[in-house]
């Protein structure tokens, strides 16, 4: 009898602790998407040149600079030249830029595939600018705004998220940048070091869905 009672109490406690865990994780619902150290899912998305692009197209890459960006958000536009410069700086070092437009053109008419093509050719994008037609990749990664950067490192386990956040410390004015968060992180990875600043914040336009 006594034993039965103990088992009953223990199972109640167990249930209670589950309820408690459920409760606290409910509090963190805003943390959806990837965190540092997570493995990033594969992509297979339509580029502005009409071809599909996946990470497997880059067998020699050491990793990827994935940037969620769009056509007209002022913060995205202010970052365009810097994104082109990042691709020039890091593609040959093994970290090419992959830009993904997360917006639904039915909600944000400035972000249709055709207007993405116009943007890519007008700015002379040297990197793929991908259309997230199914609107699933941005959610899986956890991108909430444009621009929103994910730095991935290729490892034996998969593509490890090593940095999330801003390109640098001054979105609207590239000439006044003091700290290049993303570039610093790539150089640290290239040197075989741990990324020192893993997450940063920047103002951006909310993803339009």
């Amino acid at each position: 009898m006594k034993n039965k009672k103990i088992v009953f109490v223990l199972s109640l406690l167990l249930m209670a602790s589950f309820a408690f865990v459920g409760f606290s994780s409910g509090d963190n619902s805003e943390d959806d998407g990837y965190g540092i150290g997570d493995l990033a899912a594969a992509i297979n998305l339509l580029n502005t040149d009409g071809k599909m692009v996946s990470y497997d197209n880059y067998p020699d890459a050491k990793g990827f600079i994935v940037i969620f960006t769009c056509n007209t958000c002022p913060y995205a536009v202010a970052s365009e030249d810097r994104i082109i410069a990042l691709d020039a700086e890091f593609k040959d070092k093994g970290y090419p830029v992959i830009a993904i437009n997360p917006n639904n053109p039915e909600v944000q008419p400035a972000d249709t595939y055709e207007l993405m093509q116009a943007k890519a050719s007008e700015k002379g994008f040297t990197f793929p600018y991908l259309y997230d037609k199914t609107n699933t990749i941005y959610a899986e990664y956890g991108a909430t705004k444009t621009p929103h950067v994910y730095l991935l490192e290729k490892t034996d386990e998969g593509r490890v998220v090593q940095y999330i956040g801003a390109i640098d410390d001054n979105v609207r004015n590239g000439s006044a940048v003091k700290e290049r968060f993303l570039a610093n992180a790539v150089y640290e990875l290239l040197d075989g070091k741990e990324v020192s600043v893993k997450e940063t914040k920047a103002i951006g336009c909310s993803v339009k869905q």
Binding site: A16, F20, E30, A166, T200, A202, I203, G204, S206
Partner: protein
């Protein structure tokens, strides 16, 4: 047996309450820590007036508008003229300010438009839409250091809204309908 069950339930409920209390406490300690680090920070509060609109850097905004210690409820909305969901929800904030004026609910719109757009875009927008609540502009480039000071939960997307009284704070990185906003205001009142 019954007493045991009540006891266990009590523990569960208590720990949940403790948990939410802890979250609140964390929020407060966060702000305290910031004002401490601000003293060692070289950035001084800066405020200027342009086109009749107060323009703040973050330390000045923080001091002037994000920690008012009186009996009013403040709804601080971060927006920009180019942000469609922001523009869409502004009338709801205006209506809340009007409906809950007797409950001392005040709305402050913090524009994140680039400072050179203040004259050509922000001021005409305020006039055209007859915005009656206070509008200020935040001119501070180093978003990575000030975004977490508004809320550690903020990823940086707008619209974003802070609702606070002298002893409660709630932060939302989302758009509101009128009903949703009213519900949050009633929760905090």
């Amino acid at each position: 047996m019954k007493t045991l069950l009540t006891f266990i339930l009590g523990i569960v409920l208590f720990s949940c309450a403790e948990n939410s209390k802890k979250n609140l406490a964390e929020d407060t300690s966060d702000t305290i820590e910031l004002s401490e680090s601000e003293t060692s920070d070289e950035v001084k509060p800066l405020k200027r007036i342009e086109f009749g609109i107060p323009v703040y850097n973050f330390p000045a905004l923080d001091e002037a508008l994000l920690h008012k210690d009186n009996d009013s409820t403040y709804i601080v909305n971060f927006w920009a003229t180019w942000c469609k969901p922001c523009v869409k929800e502004m009338p709801y904030f205006e209506k809340i300010a009007e409906t809950y004026a007797e409950d001392k609910v005040k709305v402050v719109f913090v524009s994140l438009d680039f400072p050179d757009r203040l004259g050509p875009q922000v001021v005409p927008f305020i006039e055209k839409n007859n915005i009656r609540s206070e509008v200020v502009l935040l001119d501070d480039d180093d978003a990575n250091s000030w975004i977490p000071k508004v809320s550690t939960k903020w990823q940086g997307a707008i619209p974003a809204t802070l609702i606070y009284t002298k002893d409660k704070r709630a932060f939302f990185e989302r758009s509101f309908t009128y009903e949703e906003l009213e519900e949050e205001v009633q929760t905090i009142l």
